[in-house]
């Protein structure tokens, strides 16, 4: 009980804090971006390009894993892995989005980023894991309009990191459960 009460107090004070800050920023619209409104992104490489996912969506990273292929799945599902007794699908995001990758999709040394939301979990195969960077929350721009249609659904926006424009993955569409009904 005491814990709960404690948490409630914390939450309400946090909420108060947020409200206070919003009120302040509304009052002075020209005030500089607060340094706290930043979100961490995990960078990764596919082929020549760098992309990012929100760290909040990442559960863990794997460098080594044994994939079991499953028949009758879409071509971008490489198979499943057994992670401590939990079965997780392995998604080749490069294939899913028609992006370049280092090729040889059978290479098992390619690292995987396990992403998760309330609905599903999958391990995304990438070519290389990069750094975690912090970007301003409102620094995410809408995706480039010239983007390939196959990719548009899976890119949430683009963001500048060290002068490079990086595509931010939309984990919600990537994690959409696959529900193939029998033909």
């Amino acid at each position: 009980m005491s814990d709960e009460r404690h948490e409630t107090v914390d939450l309400s004070s946090v909420a108060e804090e947020i409200l206070r800050r919003r009120a302040e920023s509304l009052a002075a619209e020209t005030v500089e971006e607060s340094a706290d409104d930043r979100m961490p992104l995990l960078l990764f490489r596919l082929g020549e390009e760098w992309y990012a996912v929100k760290v909040a969506d990442v559960r863990e990273i794997y460098q080594e894993y044994a994939v079991t292929s499953i028949p009758c799945v879409p071509p971008y599902i490489r198979g499943v892995v057994n992670i401590r007794g939990e079965i997780i699908s392995v998604t080749e995001v490069a294939t899913l989005m028609g992006l370049d990758s280092d090729g040889d999709s059978d290479a098992e040394e390619a690292p995987a980023i396990v992403i998760q939301n309330e609905e599903a979990t999958t391990a995304m195969v990438v070519d290389e894991i990069g750094d975690i960077v912090e970007v301003p929350t409102d620094g995410v721009e809408p995706p480039l309009s010239i983007i390939d249609k196959a990719q548009a659904d899976y890119i949430a926006g683009s963001v500048y990191v060290d002068g490079r424009l990086i595509g931010l993955f939309n984990t919600t569409t990537i994690l959409k459960p696959i529900d193939a009904t029998s033909a």
Binding site: T8, C72, V80, N82, T122
Partner: protein, 788 residues
């Protein structure tokens, strides 16, 4: 500070209400038989009171009000101001159902569509009718009881209930917090058996039971961890073997060393200094080797001892873990008397339900899943099995039909038999219907045994009834029930029927869903698991045994021709082909079909733990899940119904489903015959929205003329009362016309008396939907089922 939020407690109330409502429902049924059972009334009164209080607490005032009125009536009954009459049961049930509904929608945005006020008024009328109407009620009720409605519940039945409560006692005591989906709602919490109003002692005992309610998710997590421990244990058993091998290897090295030592000692012409040095080194190596040997051997032995001790514990852990999920079948059975009462009423039949073996224990997950199939089979038995009273009288049977549901354990399976003493399935009628619907040809029918014909009821979309009535027609066919049992529960459903004597459905399901036996087989370089429940046999056939018929490979087994399918082809994987000439085949029987799957190698049979494909791969064609073998490798488990369906699709759907649907492309066409403009346009828009092509006619004559002029449609939907030619006449005309008779006819009408339905059946209609229950889904479902 945070305000007290009532909505947060609605969930709790719903859980509690479920228990109370279940007990009240059972109470009403018992009360019908023993209207003067004072003790029972007291119990019910207490439950109604609790319901009233807690619903008011969470602000559900409508529930509180209905419960209050129930309480009022019961107080009067208890105080003898009023006699309990069977008529009251209906109002009680209505009230209880209303509470179930209100409790379910509580806290959601669903708009309440129930006539609560009307119900309240009716309840008040009963309560206030009290003294003055009581005598009248009794008089009229007595008449009503005999004439109007056949009651499921009678003296015998309540005896049965009481017995059930007592015999069900031990099982129930183990699980007073028994959780399962109750018939009354979608939530999981439910009544414990001690709550039965007839066993007051039980209630007291239950309170004293040292039990805990646990979320099933937590139990599942625990079981998941246990299966990890089991897998780890298998791994360490393998390591123990490896260690023993290392000890043996070291013994060999020791022997080799001894030989070297004696060889070295025998060397004579050697410098003394070197000899001394060598002797030192050898002595050192000798003791090091001997120490290492002793240590390794001790390690191996110690490991093996520890492991065998752990092994016992792990086995116990697994067994006890599985038992956590086991609940008595009675948790499902208990809702059936009420369901049967409602069913018997709606079909206007007099049926007694006998339940046996309620204390048989079953995995909770299985229990959750068998409720619906059992209800469906029960409903089927009432609708199609039990004959109308006059027919029963003529054939010398008691007017009251009997449906018996028996559960028992056989080895590692649970068998549930549902038998009725009705008319049985007429194989000739089934055959005729199958021919008419295009499932089989006349010659196939002629060569078919009665037993095979009976199994036709499991064909996709097949309905045994000459007509689809709303109650059995809504929902699902036996094919769906059977597929569900095979696919979801890894069990089987069989039927045994004697014409004129009755039908028995036999449901065999594994004790637990978590572990099944499976045949491991190899295709290409990967292993697959095939559940053994559906495997008839495995064989290694000579290539010369495989013959080609109509361009397809088949094999003869016991005077049956079994089509062969390459598993690699269905799965879309590469195959290495079998080596050494013989062809490994797994013969599978499912839903009356047999098929042989050609694989690369048959590896062996073993128990496997079933796991899902994870949250991302929700449904994959042909794959039911995966299992993890001892070494941690993941093996896909194949889905037999999917494999069979896909194999049949490849073979041009031969022998499966109406043939016409396989050849068709483009939208289905419907002819609507209806004189009312509004209804016609309503139906038209429903079908067009669902992607059908629609043709309309103002009456039967016009519709029939269009058909005779060569209009080809997939189904005819017709009204009954129309000028020039009625729907019945139209149906008869279509069904007696050689070129049109296979077109399904669906009658949509406001006539809902039984005689009218019978007239529709005689005319040959395939389905009959009354406008009172008419809605878009019923109509589309029915049409889809008929032309699917």
């Amino acid at each position: 500070m945070v305000e007290f939020d009532r909505s947060a407690f609605i969930g709790k109330f719903q859980e509690e209400a479920q228990d109370l409502l279940q007990r009240l429902n059972e109470g009403v049924i018992t009360l019908e038989a023993e209207p003067a059972n004072r003790e029972l009334i007291d119990h019910m009164l207490r439950d109604a009171h609790t319901l009233k209080g807690s619903s008011r607490m969470v602000g559900l005032l409508e529930i509180s009000d209905v419960a209050h009125r129930l309480e009022d009536i019961m107080v009067k009954v208890r105080d003898g101001e009023m006699a309990y009459t069977p008529e009251m049961s209906d109002s009680f049930f209505e009230a209880l159902d209303a509470i179930v509904y209100l409790a379910e929608v509580a806290g959601t945005d669903v708009e309440i569509t129930l006539d609560v006020e009307g119900l309240q008024a009716r309840l008040t009328a009963i309560a206030e009718g009290g003294e003055m109407a009581a005598a009248e009620d009794v008089a009229s009720a007595e008449g009503a009881e005999e004439a109007a409605t056949p009651e499921v519940t009678d003296e015998d039945h309540s005896e049965e209930l009481r017995e059930d409560a007592e015999t069900g006692g031990p099982g129930a005591e183990e699980e007073p917090g028994a959780v399962r989906p109750a018939m009354v709602g979608g939530r999981e919490a439910r009544a414990d058996e001690q709550g039965r109003p007839t066993s007051a002692d039980g209630v007291m005992k239950a309170k004293a039971q040292p039990t805990i309610r646990i979320k099933t998710g937590q139990v599942d997590e625990l079981l998941n961890l246990i299966s990890e421990v089991v897998i780890a244990q298998i791994k360490s058993e393998q390591q123990a073997v490896d260690l023993r091998q290392a000890v043996t290897d070291q013994a060999d090295i020791w022997q080799a060393w001894l030989r070297v030592k004696s060889a070295v000692v025998s060397i004579t012409n050697i410098d003394d200094a070197i000899a001394t040095h060598l002797a030192d080194e050898m002595a050192h190596l000798d003791s090091a080797l001997s120490d290492a040997r002793r240590d390794l051997s001790a390690l191996s032995k110690g490991f093996a001892d520890d492991m065998s001790r752990t092994s016992v514990v792990v086995n116990d852990l697994q067994e006890q873990g599985m038992r956590l999920r086991m609940l008595p079948v009675s948790t499902v059975f208990n809702t059936f008397p009420r369901a049967m009462r409602d069913l018997a009423r709606s079909f206007k039949k007099d049926v007694e339900l006998i339940l046996e073996g309620g204390d048989t224990e079953l995995d909770k997950k299985v229990l959750e899943e068998i409720n619906d199939p059992l209800v469906h089979i029960m409903r089927n038995a009432v609708d199609h099995g039990i004959e109308p009273a006059d027919v029963r009288r003529e054939s010398g049977k008691p007017e009251k039909g009997t449906i018996r549901m028996v559960a028992r354990q056989e080895g590692d399976h649970i068998v549930i038999e549902i038998s009725d003493d009705g008319g049985g399935i007429d194989p000739e009628q089934v055959k005729a219907s199958a021919i008419r619907k295009g499932y089989i040809s006349q010659s196939e029918a002629d060569s078919m045994s009665d037993r095979e014909a009976t199994y036709l009821i499991f064909e996709k979309g097949f309905s045994t009834a000459a007509i689809i009535t709303e109650i059995s027609g809504r929902g699902v066919g036996m094919d769906v029930v059977r597929e569900f049992i095979v696919e979801k529960l890894k069990g089987s459903l069989d039927v045994d029927s004697r014409l004129g004597q009755g039908t028995t459905f036999r449901l065999t399901i594994p004790l637990t869903l978590a572990i099944i036996r499976a045949l491991m087989l190899r295709v290409g370089d990967q292993l697959y698991a095939l559940p053994t429940a559906s495997i008839d046999e495995t064989l290694r056939a000579e290539p010369s045994d495989v013959i080609k018929v109509e361009g397809r490979e088949v094999i003869r087994r016991q005077r049956r021709t079994i089509p062969l399918v390459r598993l690699a082809g269905i799965l879309g994987v590469s195959s290495e082909g079998s080596h050494g000439g013989k062809i490994p085949i797994a013969n599978v029987g499912f839903s009356g079909h047999r098929m042989g799957f050609i694989v690369d190698a048959l590896v062996g049979e073993q128990q496997i733990v079933i796991k899902t494909l994870g949250t991302h791969l929700r449904k994959v064609d042909n794959v039911a899940g995966v299992t993890i073998l001892g070494a941690g490798e993941v093996v896909p488990i194949l889905n037999i119904p999917d494999l069979m369906a896909n194999a049949r699709n490849r073979a041009g759907r031969k022998g499966s489903g109406p043939k016409k649907s396989a050849e068709r492309t483009g939208p289905m066409k419907i002819l609507i015959c209806e004189d009312s403009f509004t209804t016609r346009e309503l139906e038209r828009s429903i079908f067009e929205a669902a992607g059908y092509d629609v043709e309309v006619a103002m009456d039967g004559a016009q519709g029939f003329a269009k058909l005779k002029e060569g209009l080809v449609v997939d189904a005819v939907v017709t009204d009954v009362q129309m000028p020039n030619m009625t729907g019945f006449e139209l149906t008869k005309a279509i069904k007696t016309d050689a070129s049109l008779k296979n077109t399904p006819v669906i009658i949509v009408t406001s006539l809902e008396r039984d005689e009218e339905k019978a007239e529709g059946i005689q005319a040959g209609a395939d389905a009959y939907i009354t406008k009172s229950v008419f809605n878009q889904d019923t109509l589309l479902d029915t049409v889809e089922r008929l032309i699917g």
